[in-house]
């Protein structure tokens, strides 16, 4: 039997995290991809390397990835699959547990390693511990951490596309509007370099001081929960236990103290740099390179050093 992978998309573009879910699913069997939206989304899914078949839930009921119709679609398709997988982003986490409930299955969220068809490793307590769990359910429903699996190549496949119908049901929820943050920068979850700011940035105006450094490095910009709560930047910047989980090549934490819940979101980064005036800040315990000092002095110095190095 095959594995069903729900690929979520934003404005018609399949998220890179979903391609990581394809890679994870391939370890479990042949991958069939479920998508919603325009035909172009299904066509993009069909080109992903490793996808054997695309199932497209079209029509108004499946638009906007609303949980109620989509969970019903997944429950409908489930008998043909051993595993149901999605990336653990906002959409997967919204839809898959509901589908699992319809199937009387306990879902396994945030999988970072697939041991075999029944055993999975997932972080608990904000990543303070790793639990290996064995599922006794006949069918497994899991979301996977994109940072733990390389994304499947976006090109290379030529899978057939089939239409699937959305089961009839009352329209329980309705889409009203969406407000996406506009940015020319790479997505946090797929960026090679991330520059993140914390409470130490002091205010919204100062937070923008990270822009030149991010521009220089082609980096995405992230933030700690403290910076988001204080209103320096919008919610989708948040890196941490309840925000985005990232693992870039280089993570530069500026004015971030390093609360457990923030570390949970970035401590698997390859190289971590911390810039903070408090030498006791916990962020230095996970940093490969620490620089103690006033970030407002240091940021221009780093830019100057980068310019000099060429």
């Amino acid at each position: 039997m095959a594995v069903l992978v729900f690929l979520d998309h934003e404005s018609g573009i399949i998220r890179q995290a979903s391609r990581s879910a394809v890679t994870a699913a391939r370890a479990l069997g042949e991958v069939h991809a479920l998508v919603t939206g325009d035909a172009s989304v299904a066509e993009a899914a069909a080109r992903i390397d490793g996808v054997a078949k695309v199932l497209r839930a079209a029509g108004a009921a499946a638009a906007h990835e609303l949980a109620e119709p989509l969970a019903a679609v997944i429950a409908d398709l489930a008998p043909a699959y051993t595993h149901i997988v999605a990336a653990s982003g906002a959409s997967g986490k919204n839809v898959l547990p509901r589908a699992a409930a319809l199937l009387d299955v306990q879902p396994i969220p945030d999988v970072v390693s697939i041991v075999d068809a029944d055993n999975f490793v997932r972080p608990i307590y904000a990543g303070s511990a790793l639990a290996t769990v064995r599922s006794s359910d006949a069918k497994k429903v899991l979301t996977v951490r994109a940072s733990s699996f390389d994304p499947a190549p976006a090109e290379g496949g030529a899978a057939p596309i089939e239409q699937v119908t959305v089961p009839d049901g009352p329209a329980l929820s309705a889409f009203v509007s969406i407000a996406l943050s506009q940015s020319e920068r790479p997505e946090l979850e797929s960026a090679r370099v991330i520059v993140s700011g914390g409470r130490g940035m002091q205010n919204e105006e100062n937070f923008k001081l990270l822009n030149p450094l991010a521009d220089r490095l082609g980096a995405a910009i992230g933030a700690s929960r403290a910076a988001v709560d204080a209103g320096f930047v919008p919610n989708d910047y948040q890196v941490g236990q309840t925000g985005k989980i990232v693992a870039p090549e280089l993570y530069i934490a500026v004015g971030i103290s390093g609360a457990i819940q923030h570390l949970a979101g970035m401590k698997d980064s390859k190289i971590i740099v911390a810039i903070n005036k408090d030498p006791e800040a916990p962020i230095f315990q996970v940093a490969d390179y620490g620089l103690v000092g006033d970030l407002f002095d240091i940021l221009p110095q780093v830019e100057a050093a980068l310019d000099k190095a060429g």
Binding site: N94, P97, Q106, A129, T132, L291
Partner: protein, 249 residues
């Protein structure tokens, strides 16, 4: 309108959890326990709905050990009217909790169930969605804003790329994200008053729910520790090391 608010007793968010030496789990004996922070936000929102005259009654529910009574008293000190403890020593999974809550919904007939989006112990982020699925109700997860009017809830949700707004037909499930509100501290008089509020205790079996876990914990381990880093003296030194040593720029 009646609001049901499930709350969970977890290790206090300020405490760093320690993995047990035998690898069977995380040490909870003698560790400070508190209400799951996301559930506090859910309680706060329910109480605010009551203060605005939208909710008429707020009922707090917890599934857990005897000491979860303390968590329910905290919810009542914040403003919940009464509480139900579903007493069990089993670490009930989201599927089991959702089944218990479905049975309680049948008894209590709330118009809204407000939950925290995830518990900070198992980080499952599933109970609200599963309850919505079992009941066939609308769901609004990761809410940063809720408005109730004309039999509908308008919910703004925190999603990967920004914010999304949905309308839900009531009755519905809403799960709270961090920025929905800032929970109040219970005042001493309210803590005293909460001691006299009704707290009913029942067993999962009374509700006809089997809470046997579907997941077996094979092992729990510390994550691999990062190698100790170094302190660099200057921005120039940092850039040189990132370039020549780490080779990431």
């Amino acid at each position: 309108m009646k609001v049901l608010v499930p709350v969970k007793r977890v290790i206090d968010f300020n405490i760093k959890p320690r993995v047990k030496a035998d690898g069977t789990g995380v040490e909870t004996a003698g560790v400070k326990m508190s209400m799951n922070p996301f559930d506090e936000i859910a309680v706060e929102e329910a109480v605010r709905l009551k203060e605005k005259g939208i909710a008429t009654e707020v009922v707090a529910v917890s599934v857990g050990v005897q000491q979860a009574q303390d968590t329910l008293r905290t919810a009542m000190a914040m403003g919940a009217d009464r509480a139900i403890l579903v007493l069990t020593d089993v670490a009930v999974e989201p599927l089991g909790v959702a089944k218990i809550l479905r049975a309680l919904v049948a008894k209590e007939s709330p118009d809204l169930v407000l939950l925290g989006k995830q518990a900070i112990d198992d980080d499952m982020n599933a109970t609200g969605q599963m309850l919505a699925g079992l009941l066939g109700w609308a769901q609004g997860t990761f809410a940063s804003r809720i408005e109730i009017a004309d039999g509908k809830a308008t919910v703004t949700r925190e999603i990967d790329g920004g914010l999304e707004t949905l309308t839900l037909t009531l009755p519905a499930i809403v799960t709270a994200d961090l920025r929905l509100n800032e929970p109040r501290y219970a005042s001493l008089p309210n803590i005293m008053k909460a001691r006299k509020k009704p707290l009913e205790t029942i067993a999962p079996a009374d509700l006809g729910v089997d809470v046997t876990p579907r997941l077996t914990i094979v092992s729990v381990a510390e994550p691999p520790a990062r190698q100790q880093g170094i302190t660099v003296e200057s921005a120039a030194d940092l850039v040189a090391r990132l370039r020549n040593e780490a080779k990431v720029i």
